[in-house]
Point group: C2
Chain length 231, copies 2
C-alpha cells in the first residue's frame, strides 16, 4: 500500500557511490520520472558486463514495466548466460538531442539525455511476467503493435530468455541549451548555436511478401519517437 | 611502406575470441571499410570498462583518424583516469536503421549496424597527434567546422586528456532487410515491413548571444548524418 509519504520518497533515487554524477555534477539527475521518460524514449540500450575481467558492451532492445527493465534473447546468448550468473551489470541508454557548436573548438559539446542503471539481473520465470515483458518489448518499439500481431506461442516463450533488472540504482545525465563560450570568444565572427537532432521515421517499406489489401496502420504512418505516457 | 599485399591483408580484421560473432553469425562482419563507415557515421560511442569488478558504460563523443579511435575529456574524468591504468576497454558504436515489424511478436527485430572494439587505450602525448585528434573530434561531428572556429590554446590543450584506442580488434554486426516470419504466418492479415529510422537535423537554433550579421554556414544548413568519405 503506497502512502503519500512513500510516493514522495519514490520520486527520487538516492545517489550511490556508483550512480552519483561526479563530473559536471549539475548535469546529474535522480528523478524517477525523468529517468523513466529517457528509458521510454530510447530504443536501444547498451549492456555492460564483465567476463574474466574483460568488459563487453552489447547493444540490445529493451522494455520497461514500472520499475523493471527487461532484456531478452536466445538461451544461447553469451550476454544473457553471463548475466544469469548474477554478475554486476551496467545498462546505459543515451538520447542525442543536438550538436552544440561553440565559437571555440574546445567548447563544442552535445546536448543529450542519458540514463545509467547498475544492478544484477534475474531470470523471469513466471509465465505471466514473461508475457508481460514480451508485450513491453513490442509496445516499447511500436505502441499499439502488440494487439495486432500473433502472440508468442508456447515454443517461442520457452525459447526466449527474459531477464529483469530492477531500476533502483539509476541516474540520469542531461545537457541542454546553447554553447557556453569563453567570454572573450563571443566577439568572434563565428556562427554558434545548437543543431537539434532527432530520430525520425522515414516512409515504411512494406514486406515484399505482404498480401495486397493490407493497409499500413495509423500507428506506423504517424510514428514519432517521443516520450509516450504509458498506461 | 604499404605493399599491395599488405593492403589486402589489412582489408579484413582477423576475428579473435572476443570479436568473433557467435549469435546469428551471418550478421558478423570484419571488413575494415565497413567498420570505418559505421564509426564515421556514428556520433556517440559507449565505452565499457571495469573498476573493482564493476562494469561502467559511459556514452561519449569520439573521433577516428585512420586506425585509431580517440576519446577525450577532463583530467578529472573517472573514465579516462581508469582507462589510463591500462585496463581493458570495450567501445561500441550502434546505428539504428529501422524497426522490423513482423507478423508475430516473436520475430520483431531491428535493423542496425554496430561496431565493437576491444583493446587498451593509451595517452596521446605528442602535441601534433593531440591536435590532430582534437581536429578529428570537431570534424567528426560537423565536417568543415574546424577551419572556422578558434583552435585550442595552450591551456586548453593541456587541460584535455586525449586517449587513443587502436582499431585492430574489431567487428561489426549488421542486420538489414525485411522481417523473417514463420512460413505459416505469412497468411495473417497483419501489416509487416520495415520502418526506417534516421538521425535527422532540425532547424539550427542560433546562440542567443550570436551577433547580428553572422549567417549560418552551409555545412549547418545542409547537415546530414551520413557516411562522409574522409580526406
Amino acid at each position: 500500500m503506497s502512502t503519500l509519504n512513500n510516493q514522495i520518497n519514490q520520486e527520487q533515487f538516492t545517489p550511490t557511490q556508483r550512480t552519483s554524477i561526479k563530473r559536471v555534477s549539475q548535469r546529474g539527475h535522480y528523478e524517477r520520472q525523468l529517468i523513466y521518460e529517457i528509458l521510454d524514449e530510447g530504443l536501444i540500450c547498451h549492456v555492460g558486463f564483465v567476463v574474466d575481467n574483460q568488459p563487453f558492451v552489447i547493444p540490445t532492445a529493451y522494455g520497461r514495466v514500472e520499475d523493471k527493465l527487461y532484456i531478452h534473447g536466445s538461451p544461447a546468448s553469451r550476454m544473457l548466460r553471463s548475466l544469469l550468473t548474477g554478475i554486476e551489470v551496467c545498462v546505459t541508454v543515451t538520447l542525442l538531442d543536438g550538436l552544440v557548436l561553440a565559437r571555440s573548438a574546445f567548447h563544442h559539446s552535445m546536448n543529450y539525455r542519458s540514463v545509467v542503471i547498475f544492478g544484477t539481473a534475474t531470470l523471469v520465470q513466471g509465465a505471466d511476467e514473461k508475457l508481460e515483458a514480451l508485450r513491453a518489448f513490442t509496445e516499447h518499439i511500436v505502441p499499439e503493435r502488440w494487439a495486432e500481431v500473433r502472440p508468442p506461442n508456447r515454443q517461442e516463450l520457452q525459447g526466449t530468455l527474459v531477464l529483469s533488472l530492477p531500476i533502483t540504482e539509476a541516474s540520469a545525465k542531461v545537457r541542454t541549451g546553447p554553447p557556453l563560450d569563453d567570454e572573450e570568444d563571443y566577439s568572434l565572427s563565428v556562427w554558434a548555436g545548437v543543431l537539434p537532432l532527432q530520430v525520425v521515421a522515414g516512409d515504411a517499406i512494406a514486406d515484399p511478401r505482404l498480401h495486397t489489401g493490407i493497409t499500413q496502420p495509423d500507428y506506423i504512418q504517424n510514428y514519432t519517437r517521443l516520450y509516450v505516457e504509458s498506461e
